[in-house]
């Protein structure tokens, strides 16, 4: 009953095999190897972007922060959702890598920034001239931290707002594959064709051990990246092991198949939970995560019985047993029907016992 996070699951066997294959000989370090060359080409092909600059790092925080440091000046502010991973979950890494940029938090119902809200935020920033920070890039997360997915029109509208202010667009794609599968479009459609300038292309959560690509479509914007990466301690010496993961991940659309598995598992879970009156879904499922409210007593009993997931808002230790707490349940590529079935059996068991007690 594993729903804690898509980074709690294993890496895909094909990725492990690729590591073993990469381990059979000598290769120059720091990316000067053939595996890296091939992996860069594979990412470019996925994005139909032969000119794009592609860099590999091991964490999403590194990908996001170094990418943003190429797009934002220290005296600018990055516009992002108030729920953005870059704001809540990176311990100030964007501020560190940019040399002290601000983050301007934009109201984002369901995790999605509204273009009108963004326009108002950008228009009123920097109006006092040198006294305040200036508008900088926007960063949006696809799929969002709420498990929702921006449609292509929505993406285009946000990119238009950013570009009309002369600013670039960064996409935090920690779960980009899950979003692509949901939209059924191409990576190019969901990125540069919609106006996105740089993507953190996450692979760790969806089947790798630790591998992320930063894709910057305009090489001019990428000029500093390799210095910032090295200086950030993120240029791996035995770089081929990063590249090998990425190659296996992209080979034969493995990444899309894995994301489809994860999304489907989440859809099944959503359907099942919709039958349980104690659960109330907070957002429609659009990727591989569910957010649902349930009373404290239910969470306590489920977790005590071995279900693993995160209480997102509220305190499990509180007093009122009936207070609804928001939970996050994540299905990774490896989520099995049995995992869900076991969980739902537990849910039914716990809720029916409670009903008996109350009667």
């Amino acid at each position: 009953m594993q729903f804690a996070s898509d980074n709690a699951g294993p890496a895909h066997p094909s990725v492990m095999d690729a590591l073993l294959r990469a381990n059979d000989s000598y290769a120059l370090g720091y990316g000067n190897d053939t595996e890296t060359e091939t992996a860069v080409a594979a990412v470019r092909e996925v994005f139909e972007a032969p000119e794009a600059e592609v860099f590999f790092v091991t964490t999403g925080t590194a990908a996001n922060s170094i990418a943003l440091s190429c797009l934002a000046q220290p005296w600018q502010t990055v516009f992002c959702s108030e729920m953005a991973h870059i704001h809540l979950d990176e311990c100030g890494a964007p501020e560190f890598f940019t040399g002290g940029s601000k983050l301007t938090l934009v109201d984002a119902p369901g995790g999605c920034i509204d273009p009108g809200t963004l326009e108002r935020a950008m228009a009123t920033t920097g109006a006092s001239g040198v006294h305040g920070v200036q508008p900088g890039p926007i960063s949006l997360t696809q799929a969002t931290e709420c498990g929702t997915v921006y449609g292509l029109d929505h993406l285009r509208a946000l990119c238009d707002v950013a570009h009309s202010h002369g600013q670039a667009v960064h996409m935090d794609g920690a779960r980009i594959a899950n979003a692509l599968v949901q939209l059924g479009c191409s990576a190019a459609d969901m990125s540069w064709r919609a106006g996105v300038d740089a993507v953190s292309f996450g692979a760790t959560k969806n089947g790798c051990l630790g591998a992320e690509a930063v894709v910057i479509f305009d090489p001019d914007r990428a000029r500093d990246f390799e210095f910032r990466r090295k200086r950030g301690g993120h240029l791996l010496s035995k770089h081929r092991y990063l590249a090998a993961q990425m190659m296996a991940y992209l080979q034969d659309d493995l990444w899309l198949r894995l994301a489809a598995q994860a999304n489907e598992a989440a859809a099944n879970l959503e359907r099942a939970l919709a039958q349980v009156p104690e659960f109330e879904l907070a957002h429609p499922r659009e990727a591989n995560m569910l957010f649902a409210h349930a009373p404290r007593w239910l969470h306590r009993d489920l977790i005590a019985a071995g279900a693993v997931y995160a209480i997102w808002e509220g305190d499990l230790q509180g007093d009122d047993p009936d207070e609804p707490l928001l939970a996050r349940l994540v299905c990774d590529w490896n989520a099995s029907p049995e995992n869900t079935a076991q969980f739902m059996a537990l849910v039914r068991n716990v809720t029916s016992k409670r009903a008996e007690v109350r009667v």
Copy 2:
């Protein structure tokens, strides 16, 4: 004929096996897993330091820079050798992570800082009060960038100098295993018992894919580390794969056996090269690296014939065929006698041909 770097070779099969074993189930992310707990305990045991704080990262640059940022204030200067990796090969990472500390370069013949020189450097730093930067920690590399190894008395003398100025000592141990094998002492003897306060314990070069531990003996000095690591993008989500590497590496003294193999290969190479008049060794071999001068024509012929190693000083493309250029030859754990034999055969072949031509 692979002597380019100890990060050009493969990882050890036991390390790969450990990765596969770690991949069989779900585990909490970000170090909250049992593999991490076990690996931390293993590092503490190696150092006989049950109270030490231990953190894993993927690169030596990250290890060094985050460690130094815990020891140096932005208005201090870090004392290091003029050949230090932190100065020459990290693109300013220490400056970045410390918030702009300086590095004071200390003359270091053979890669080893002399205690008297260090004392003079520290004593004259900060004497003008608030106008100049203040003395900060020292960072020494063991084994050094010249392939030499500090003796224990030498280490103690340097630590005494630093401590007498109220400053801490960082050891860049990218090749710490090679140094330990050479000295035949314990890790504790070569670190905290000699006065070292923090160690970058390198494992990548000696058989891992990408795994380094930072060991800080006084927990008070380590308080900020986890925030600095996260903020630097260096806290891996699927942290168990880092831990698994380290566990396999330390298991049954694998790490010391691998270092002994590398050192022995280098010793063999040294003995063989000593027979070749064209080669002149720059430093005595004390770890797994050789630095040797040879004329340009010889380097050209060897490299053209497939020998892989680095020209450390001088330009292979220069005019004078007889000008001596400094080469670095590194033997990794996987260096085979055949590798050396093949190289030496080539050396003999090339030099004898040249002799014929000249005659």
Copy 3:
């Protein structure tokens, strides 16, 4: 008709005289002069804090940012009002000096942070451990950016919240004299006795050319200040001219008399504007600033006729003549009754003309 800002007016003649007197001889630079010693003692006496560390700088932004950098770690967040000068008007200086701390904006009706709101903000920050930034100091402005003044109980309550989270309290006292005069209490009561740990003691707006003191009550917290100041380029070489300003400013309570004049001028203006139906005061006057809404046509006519003040919210160039725009009117120490009388005559003239036209 000057109401633009209290930094638009002249310095007080006594301050100018002090500059001239300080100019008559040689003195060591960088604060090693007797004027500085005397001025530091004078500030300590004002605060009844003989142990406090006192530093002079030329701008409020420098005072605030360097003070905060002594109180906040880079991975912490500074809690402040959403209207705080440190957030809106310093172009990211706090982020720069702290090495990339965040600012957490707390809702602050009338410019005053509510202790309950602060408690909720501090309690929910950092709860996710290393993933998010950690709670840091709070910074409150006295008098606030809205021209209101925290009462002593209110201050104590805020300080208690901060201290209960182990964090320090910074007071941005750009208009501290105006607040003191309003409360009628001592500087000690309004600072360390209430729990404030560091004060930016502003003198520039209230009669100096450019002089601010940072007062840190616990010397342990001030250890880094002089390095941070020097490194920020804020240690003046001819330091005596800073000290001379501060000495003249504090001599014979000049500073309190000047603040009283400014406050009284604002009170008179408030009384007069209260008679004008077109003006609606946004906050009660408690210091030397008024915020008032008036229709766009009225602002346009007044400004066209030579009144100098800032439109704080809204755009003077908009279409609807009747839309209310928020203006800020500031009275400095030099504000004369004639200045107000002239302005009020203009207001009456403009509004009565408009009334005629409408009739």
Copy 4:
């Protein structure tokens, strides 16, 4: 007997008068005043550079550091003399403002960087690609920290080296007026016509209270300056007082006359000291500073008798009375013939007494 520093002396009466005149009315803050406009125009005229961007700050450290931060990327290194003020006397301010650039210290006999040495330093920097920091701007001091002055050909040669590497040239002109007077050329000749890209135009040491201008000849390079200045806390609110100093300073060539007075005083002192066998001049006097060796006993007696100057190298408290210590003697604009005469009388008195004792 004042020779401590040119920042130990008073400001010129004309500068004080200008402050008083600027104090008679209201003016918009932050440089939006007419005095600032006029002062900017005056600086442009001095440099015959109508397109140059000109910014005022209060300290030389701020001028140098903000200027360098506009010219250097964080992963670059600034080439400067090993005696450079930016290295020795600014507590790491350039590192702070640039976001962690390095400083590469170039051997500089007599304070002057040799073009050949610079070329070698720049050519060998960054050769290892992303591993090392990259070449950045050069910063040279005119007049140098040794009191010497670069000739125009020398300047041009240094600028050519920097430009040939695609890098800019910064001139630390803390004593630029003294150098100009010595060379007898125009400010344009000594700056942009020789290839200098940015100048810290010092006025504090030569008669102001605290006023420096940064002049950047290519406006493209100056785009970020105002944000960096504000963010550094260096945009003065009552900016007119900075501008007023600069206007008075430049009016009717006051600045050049003051520098000529200072240089002449130093020349007189040099001539007088040349007659004293105990003094040995370290560098030829070319500006307003002398560096001279004299035995410890002599320094002790002179300083005990009230002479004020700095021991530049060595420790006055040492044992050997005859050990030569290097002293720095600075003449400011206000240095009077009486000051020198009194000092020389003391020197004669002390040395003749010593001679008697020895006999």
